[in-house]
């Protein structure tokens, strides 16, 4: 199926739950709410016409311009995105799904935004979600093993956040 057909199939099923779409990019995508993500993913995998049986990648993107002078020209409001790259072996097509999130849950600094896990649909999502949690700071609800995957357990902060501050000292070792 072409990306346009996939979007039509999704719209037939979910209607207004598909928030927005973009087809003139290399990777056409739709945006869904975090609350609807699990249903959409289950449909994408289970439907015979779509049959997305592989999750290639999950990535977290932090949209923030830390420089206040450049911020008005940045062209986006500060937010987080979680991007799901899907692929189908049976139909040889691929598709992208995005979830927009606030940088902090309820705009309270320190409260991580939450997304339902898809690791019960695609097993591979387990480690991908741990990586997004580790580096970008997105909490995945109902994740079977929500630990950090790359950094050590007692690490403070999420390094790929644009406003991350480097540690000055870690276990007696001077940083910078």
């Amino acid at each position: 199926m072409t990306p346009a057909e996939i979007i039509t199939a999704l719209k037939d099923k979910f209607g207004t739950k598909i928030k927005s779409e973009k087809t003139d990019t290399i990777d056409p995508f739709v945006v869904v709410d975090a609350a609807d993500l699990h249903d959409v993913c289950r449909f994408l995998k289970a439907d015979q016409r779509l049959a997305f049986d592989m999750l290639s990648n999950i990535s977290g993107v932090d949209y923030l311009e830390p420089d206040p002078k450049k911020a008005p020209k940045a062209g986006f409001d500060p937010h987080l995105e979680v991007v799901y790259h899907l692929q189908s072996f049976t139909h040889k097509h691929r598709f992208t799904l995005k979830v927009m999130l606030p940088r902090w849950k309820g705009d309270k600094v320190g409260e991580l935004p939450e997304v339902p896990t898809v690791s019960d649909i695609w097993r591979v999502a387990d480690w991908h979600e741990r990586e997004v949690y580790d580096l970008c700071g997105v909490r995945f609800l109902d994740h079977p093993d929500p630990r950090r995957i790359l950094l050590s357990e007692d690490w403070v902060g999420h390094p790929l956040r644009k406003d991350y501050e480097f540690p000055l000292e870690y276990h007696g070792i001077r940083g910078r």
Partner: protein, 204 residues
């Protein structure tokens, strides 16, 4: 050994016990099999037959710190690894030596500014004897670093409990004298120009 030297018939060598021990020690430094990143590839090349670290007696890479005298920290050390590096160092028997190999271990290297999890130099974790900069350093450079460690061993005064020699005089270096036809700049330039001429494709 001063006035004793050459007083006996051929085949008799005079030495002090300390010198003999240091000689043995410097000629059988056993490094630890311990590579962290890309520098380890260069360290493996140093161990292999072309560069052959075994010529200096340091070819017996031990798979345990308890049998090793020399730790070649080859590659980026991050905060998660730092505690392991320190533990391995503590497990080595004395006397022990550390070579910081590569830019990352010397001072953070390319990760100095934006590497949030990279230790800015392994000397913040373990004491370092010799720094070998480079990204990664050539095997020749690592061999040169090993020679400096050997110099340090030769200057040790463990047995007589004296102060070790601070700046040991290098016994050998990796310096290679250029062949006769290249040893001045002009000769080298003409040689390069000749070579360029020879390498041109033949005119049809």
């Amino acid at each position: 050994m001063g006035w004793l030297e050459g007083r006996f018939e051929e085949g008799v060598i005079t030495t002090s016990l300390e010198q003999a021990i240091n000689w043995g020690r410097q000629s059988s430094l056993w490094p630890m099999t311990f590579g962290l990143a890309c520098c380890a590839i260069e360290m493996m090349a140093t161990g292999a037959s072309r560069f052959d670290i075994d010529r200096f007696g340091a070819g017996a890479f031990r798979a345990t710190p308890r049998q090793a005298d020399l730790m070649i920290v080859a590659g980026t050390v991050n905060y998660k690894m730092a505690s392991r590096v320190r533990r391995l160092y503590n497990q080595m028997p004395d006397p022990k030596f550390v070579i910081a190999m590569g830019a990352c271990t010397c001072g953070g290297g390319p990760y100095y500014k934006y590497g949030y999890n990279v230790v800015k130099g392994v000397d913040l974790v373990v004491p370092v004897d010799v720094y070998v900069p480079g990204c990664p350093p050539r095997p020749e450079a690592l061999l040169e670093g090993l020679m400096r460690i050997q110099d340090k061993v030769r200057g040790m005064k463990d047995l007589t409990k004296q102060q070790p020699i601070d700046m040991p005089i290098p016994a050998r270096t990796g310096f290679v004298e250029l062949p006769e036809e290249l040893n001045t700049l002009e000769k080298a330039n003409t040689w390069a120009a000749d070579n360029k001429e020879k390498a041109k494709p033949a005119k049809a």
